[in-house]
Amino acid sequence: MYNKTIAELSQSLAQGEFSSVELTQVYLDRIEKFDGQVNSYITVTADAALAAAKQADVQIKAGTAGTLTGIPLAQKDIFCTNGVKTSCGSKMLDNFISPYDATVISNFKQAGAVMLGKTNMDEFAMGSSNETSFYGAVKNPWDLDAVPGGSSGGSAAVVAARLAPASTGTDTGGSIRQPAALCGITGLKPTYGRVSRYGMIAFASSLDQAGPMARTAEDCALMMNAMAGFDERDSTSIERDVPDYSASLNQSLAGLKIGLPKEYFAAGLDNGVASAVEAAIEEYKKLGAEIVDISLPNTALSVPAYYVVAPAECSSNLSRFDGVRFGYRCDNPEDLEDLYKRSRGEAFGPEVKRRIMIGAYVLSAGYYDAYYIKAQKSRQLISQDFKQAFEKVDVIMGPTSPTVAFNLGEKTDDPVTMYLSDAYTIATNLAGLPGMSVPCGFVGQRPVGLQIIGNYFDEARLLNVAHQYQQHTDWHSRVPAAFA
């Protein structure tokens, strides 16, 4: 049961092979048995899950079920969930029981999905290895000595270890695609504004975007059908029709123009990763695609620009955590300033503090033009690179991450080394473009991800391109031996 995709589970439920309650119980039992090794869930909502499954079974029997009715899902602990602890991986929100639902959560509730629990993540989504979580690091199911990637590390690990059929993630600089790559699963970061940010705890508001993480592109499409859409409660939500993302999965790739940016295959790329990605490109040629060599000349600007824009926005967003209205408050504050400083100093972890400090610095008097305006101009150049590329090609491909999963503790001493592991994913966030990661091989035991970047609102095409590859390869259906 636990090796089935959402598409398969949905069919089984409809045909009465098993009930949603039985299916949910299988996952709850697996979480109980295996999650001690992986540490992928912060909260498991077993009772609520079984109650929701029971309701779903009534709908299925009555013939009023949708595709996601009764399907168990894991939600990243960044999405506010009414009546459930929503920690964002931080001590700051360890005591926070959300009083409302994020739109992503209410959309899935409306679709009849069953929430198994909330997944572990880097604190406030700041990290590339899930090691900054207040709840401890998540382990990579393929190799328990390795990181799962981040920040949606728990969401990637639950899918790889078969502790949920699929999950949600958020991606500010690669936080869906990089952990998807490192855990050998499929993940999609939609176009900025496609999925509502309402109730999704903000990190960098001009970059944050939620998306699905699943075994297959087909499952990502089914989830996108529930997730995407206009939401008046998100001021940057896009008013634009949502296509049926499943409808175009089977389109032929004959004549598809794939751009390969030379900057994504340059120094710093691991040889094994390069070979796996090149083999995937060969597969696409067999499917009728045409390869075009392109250049994204300002690629090297993306990490530097990001580490001004993201910290600046984070320092503003995280000023709401003041120890007054919700969240952590220090004991016996002497005065209001002491209350602010100690509540924040005691409850934020080192990476979050570093980013708040960088943000406060680049926005402070006298530095704004040199840093923030410079970064916004660099962002424009990066965005123009993509605009020019998409005049010549339909999609852009390359590696998701320069290496496979690294070892736990390997990069924690030097933040800058950690930041560079997002060198290929950050540019799409700065431009606001959609991107995917699709499993395309291994180096040793550790998975490799192929990144596919599309033009604005071209999620359906990305899913089609990924699905066709998955019809001809089986990397996405491999299971880590310890969790088979």
Binding site: Y192, E232, P304, V324
Partner: protein, 95 residues
């Protein structure tokens, strides 16, 4: 670009973050490294480039000026650290 211990203290105050004296040297080292990374932008001429604030280059949506929120004060204050008579309590500010 290297920053000084006094910069760390100043930024920490601006950000209302308690930083202990023992942590200052590590902040100096890490923040300087991050600013060195950021400085890689300096080599690129951006004189004639428009700053990009938002990926969609769109204006903020406006709506009718009508009440859309219901009063949920009691509900929201259930999770507050300290309240009294519907007010959030903080240490005394005005003598």
């Amino acid at each position: 670009m290297s920053i000084e211990p006094s910069d760390v203290e100043k930024i920490a105050h601006l950000a209302r973050l308690e930083v202990t004296e023992a942590d200052v040297p590590e902040y100096v080292r890490n923040l300087s490294n991050i600013l060195d990374l950021v400085a890689q932008m300096d080599g690129v001429d951006t004189d004639k480039v428009e700053p990009m604030a938002h990926p969609m280059a769109m204006a903020q949506r406006l709506r009718e000026d009508v009440v859309t929120e219901t009063d949920q004060r009691d509900h929201f204050q259930q999770i507050a650290p300290q309240t009294e008579n519907g007010l959030y309590l903080v240490p005394q500010v005005i003598e």
